[in-house]
């Protein structure tokens, strides 16, 4: 394992991607109205329930690990506020982004729980003097002028955009290391200063987010129909394919670049990380979910076994994808 960037980095990058991807999917369901399609979500929509509620804790846990890894931040916590002040630093962008995103994610989760559990809604409204019963759907609203559903839509819209930004930021964070580790800054298109990792991590985050909320959560919820049709399968197949293409581009361009980047790619394909790559990422993260979703899409209905298998394998491969990128880092040749 690398001396400076270890498992801790892989975990918090994974958590950042999973949490933001889950919220992005919940927001998608909220904004497209699928959350309220009663035939698919008769009582509780597992996608929005899980996606909105776990996002905040997961991303927050990732931030805690990030702070833990920042030795100086632990030893001298008063320096942490300084992280807000370096406008040109990618780290500062992320600090601001996370500072806004995490409370918003918790708020979204709370609103979703209020929607699902009227008793919680009533408990909250009793303590909010401006809360009223929404005459349109009978739910309580913490604001007089807005229904709970409308508030959720606003929060979901903002949170969804921020979730995409957080997912992308996990890639920006390490590609910002720049030329020190050429593999991390391998461009998406050769010779253009657009790194591949933000795109790869964004797609991977959406994929793992969908795996957690749609594949796993919806399958595990026994009551009612899982909110799944062909659309979810096609989306997932698109994400898996896109992730594979971008990962292939990353490796190919790393070879084209030569030097340390090529050595990293060589390590991944045939070297020290080859088993992690071929087994834990290609098979677990691409082949199994791809076959499962193709099968489910062909059947046109919910398949519990494919949902669980592809969900678990996608989430696990998402973790190993981050690990692989971190572990294969090689400093530029001196």
């Amino acid at each position: 394992m690398h001396a400076q960037w270890g498992w801790l980095a892989a975990i918090y990058l994974f958590l950042g991607g999973l949490g933001s991807g889950a919220l992005a999917y919940a927001a998608l369901f909220e904004l497209t109205g699928r959350r309220y399609e009663m035939d698919r979500c008769p009582e509780v929509c597992p996608v929005t329930l899980v996606g909105s509620t776990v996002s905040g804790p997961i991303v927050a846990a990732g931030v805690v690990l990030l702070i833990f890894e920042l030795g100086a931040g632990l030893r001298e916590p008063w320096r942490i506020p300084l992280m807000y002040t370096h406008a040109s630093s990618a780290m500062t962008w992320g600090v601001w982004l996370l500072t806004i995103f995490i409370p918003l994610a918790f708020l979204y989760g709370g609103l979703e729980l209020m929607h699902v559990y009227p008793s919680l809604n009533a408990w909250v409204v009793e303590r909010l003097p401006w809360g009223v019963v929404d005459p349109r759907d009978g739910t309580y609203s913490p604001l007089r002028e807005l229904s709970l559903r409308r508030i959720k839509r606003i929060v979901a819209a903002v949170g969804g955009v921020l979730a995409l930004a957080v997912a992308t930021y996990t890639g920006i964070l390490i590609s910002a290391v720049g030329p020190a580790i050429p593999f991390w800054s391998t461009p998406l298109v050769p010779f253009l200063p657009l790194p591949t990792l933000p795109v790869l991590f964004l797609i991977s985050a959406l994929s793992t987010g969908e795996a957690l909320t749609v594949d796993l959560a919806a399958t595990l919820l026994t009551r009612g129909q899982a909110p799944r049709g062909r659309r979810e399968h096609f989306i997932h197949l698109g994400l898996i394919t896109g992730e594979a293409v971008v990962l292939g581009q990353l490796l190919a361009h790393a070879f084209l670049e030569g030097g340390a980047a090529a050595q990293s790619a060589r390590d991944i394909l045939i070297g020290a990380h080859s088993i992690v790559f071929w087994v834990l990422i290609m098979v677990l993260g691409f082949v199994i979910p791809f076959i499962g979703h193709v099968y489910a899409a062909g059947r046109g209905r919910h398949q519990p076994i494919t949902g669980l298998s592809s969900g678990a394998s996608l989430v696990l491969s998402g973790l190993f994808l981050r690990y692989l990128v971190i572990a294969s880092a090689i400093h530029a040749f001196l």
Partner: protein, 672 residues
């Protein structure tokens, strides 16, 4: 899938649990996978040029670790192999050292030997103990570090790597890479080693001294790139005496004498970081805004640096540079050094002989002939003679210096021409009192010495100048104190009048107005025959009720009241050059020394009030007094152009700034 008894919210916990489980699985799975992944053994690639080291995978300690680490990270194993305490210190490595950048290369990458056996003899066969030795570095270090630089400007360091590696004599093979960079694979980070090098040079100096490196090769610039923009001829030792602590600079020499305020300055207050700006060619005006356009950028060419901010005490040896300066010491700096002036010392630069020609080159009328036999002509000619070469003012500093030089013999006879009441409030020590309106009275004149210089003073310099002008015409050696008590004392109770504060900022024009129209000269009828007597009688009569000054506000209001019928005839008595720079709208020009010339008097109206002005009010007051004695209706602009315009170029002199704050006395002095 979940038990139906479980409430929906348990799904949230399940999801979080799955996330946690995923991380746990990853942490368990990864080492197991890595354990079965074939790890490349580091080997050197030979036969290629330049020789390149293939990337070596991290050397993993613990299970599956290489043979080298299995022994060299274990004290027990090393002791078992016979290592004593000193050998242990050298051979026992921290496991973490394998995680450094160089440690990940693997032992045999740099040390050769055999990394696949635990047999001590076989493992150390062909071992290279110090791969950073100059003879080995070319094989083990340079293949990667083949682009070694000799200079590292960001660290201000020179590192003559090539000379160290290949240029050292046979008997001086002392510099290995590790000497400076440390055992990079054994726990010393290569970047940190650079920082250590730049932070302290004790190690470098100590090693050089130990190896008896010739002292001439221990010059600072041998290792350091100076941060200052200095010439190559100046080595660090030129200025710095401390060779151990650069932050504590002790100057060996300084090319500029650091006196007065300069002595307390830090280096970088003048020689700005980071490039030690303009160490050579440094001029005063780089720091001190030059208050005037004339002269060199290097102030010390004129000023001695002692009290150069004091305008009237410039420390400039004008007398040595220009002998006629003694006739001009009353003129402010910019009076001669005005913009565009070439600092020529030719009189014609300021005193063109053809003044009239320049004023009215083509329409020169013929003035009426002056009759030398009448009183007017006699007095005018006399005054013109008295004004030629007369120095009308003395500065407060010069007077104070004279009074306090310890030589009473050269002290002047000082007359306060202020009122008796104000004289008693305070006056210059030793001054007598003759109010200016009575200066020509016989009893007053009888008290004045003929063999001693007289200094008159008043409130702001104007009525004192009236008195001085009269006395000068009457044949006395007299000067007026410039700015009067306003320049001498800062005691408002003694001054009793408003001092000059600021210019009104009224407009000026540069277009010359030609004197064309002529007038009949006034007629004087005193009954006296000689010019001095005529002047005395005229002065007694004229001064009795004369209003000697008009304020700038009053003049401006008159000129701009829309009634041209009451406009005065405005006369500038400044030099033609300064008149050309700018003058009050409609003003004509006759220099004050020439104002009594009958040829010039012919241009002055006798049916219109004349307002004349000069620089600060003094020479204008001379001219006004002269014209008044000659029968003209005249007054002087108070404070002259100093009170009219705020344009320093037009003013062309140093305006009044502040009183000197010299002492006064209240004891009444009576002439013998």
């Amino acid at each position: 899938m979940l038990p139906s008894k479980w409430p929906s919210w348990t799904l949230i916990l399940v999801a979080l649990g799955l996330t946690l489980l995923t991380v746990g699985v990853g942490l368990v799975l990864e080492p197991a996978v890595q354990a079965i992944t074939p790890q490349a053994h580091p080997t050197r690639q030979v036969g290629s040029f330049p020789p390149r080291l293939p990337y070596a995978a991290p050397v993993v300690t613990g299970p599956g670790a290489g043979a080298c680490a299995s022994c060299h990270t274990s004290e027990v194993s090393l002791r078992g192999a016979g290592a004593d305490a000193s050998a242990l210190e050298r051979l026992l490595l921290d496991e973490d050292s394998s995680l450094t950048l160089h440690g990940r290369l693997g032992c045999v990458t740099c040390h050769d030997g055999n990394g696949t056996t635990t047999d001590i003899a076989a493992a150390h066969e062909n071992l290279v103990a110090d791969p950073s030795h100059p003879r080995q570095a070319g094989t083990y270090c340079v293949p990667c570090h083949h682009d070694l630089a000799s200079e590292y400007p960001e660290d201000h360091l020179r590192a003559p790597h090539r000379r160290i590696l290949w240029g050292i004599k046979e008997d001086q093979e002392v510099c290995t890479c590790a000497n400076c960079h440390g055992p990079v694979a054994h726990g010393v980070d290569y970047l940190a080693s650079h920082q250590i090098l730049s932070a302290s040079m004790d190690y470098c100096v100590g090693c050089h001294e130990e190896q008896e490196v010739p002292t001439e090769r221990l010059k600072c610039s041998g290792c350091h790139i100076g941060p200052h923009d200095v010439s190559a001829a100046m080595d660090c030792e030129t200025c710095h005496t401390s060779v151990q602590v650069w932050g504590k600079v002790e100057l060996a020499v300084h090319p500029m004498k650091l006196n007065n305020g300069h002595a307390n300055l830090e280096c970088f207050e003048c020689h700005l970081k980071p490039n030690f700006r303009n160490l050579s060619g440094f001029s005063c005006s780089d720091c001190h805004p030059k208050p005037h356009e004339f002269g060199s950028e290097d102030c010390v060419q004129c000023h001695d640096g002692a009290d150069w901010m004091e305008i009237d005490h410039t420390g400039i040896a004008h007398e040595e540079m220009w002998e006629p300066y003694r006739y001009h010491d009353h003129v402010a700096c910019a009076g001669c050094h005005f913009a565009g002036y070439d600092l020529s010392t030719e009189c014609s630069s300021c005193h063109p002989p053809e003044v009239e020609a320049s004023r009215a080159p083509e329409l020169e009328p013929t003035p009426p002939p002056a009759t030398s036999g009448d009183e007017m002509g006699a007095l005018a000619n006399h005054i013109t003679g008295r004004l030629a070469g007369w120095r009308p003012t003395i500065s407060v500093e010069a007077l104070y210096e004279n009074l306090n030089d310890g030589d009473a013999a050269n002290d002047p006879f000082i007359i306060s021409v202020r009122s008796r009441e104000h004289y008693e409030l305070g006056h210059i020590p030793g001054a007598y009192n003759i109010p200016w309106r009575r200066i020509a009275d016989p009893e007053a004149l009888s008290a004045l010495p003929r063999d001693q210089q007289i200094v008159t003073y008043c409130y702001t310099g104007h009525t004192g100048q009236v008195a001085a002008t009269v006395l000068n015409i009457l044949g006395y050696d007299v000067v007026n104190l410039k700015f009067g008590m306003m320049g001498w004392t800062d005691d408002a109770d003694v001054l009793v009048t408003e001092p000059f504060a600021a210019a009104a900022g009224y407009p000026v024009e540069a277009e010359a107005n030609e004197l064309i129209e002529t007038y009949k000269l006034p007629t004087l009828d005193t009954g006296e025959s000689d010019a001095v007597s005529i002047a005395q009688v005229r002065a007694q009569a004229f001064l009795a009720d004369w209003a000697p000054t008009i304020s700038a506000d009053a003049l401006f209001e008159n000129l701009n009241d829309g009634d041209t019928a009451n406009d005065p005839f405005v006369l500038s008595v400044r030099s033609p050059e300064h008149y050309a720079i700018g003058h009050a709208a409609g003003a004509y020009n006759i220099p004050w020394r020439e104002v009594a010339d009958v040829d010039n008097l012919a241009y002055l109206p006798t049916d219109t009030e004349i307002v004349d002005y000069c620089y600060t009010g003094h020479t204008g007051q001379v001219a006004a007094t002269v014209l008044g004695l000659l029968g003209y209706d005249v007054t002087n602009l108070k404070f002259g152009m100093m009170g009219w315009t705020d344009d320093a170029d037009v003013l062309a002199i140093e305006p009044f700034v502040a009183p000197a704050g010299y002492p006064v006395e209240t004891e009444v002095n009576r002439p013998e």
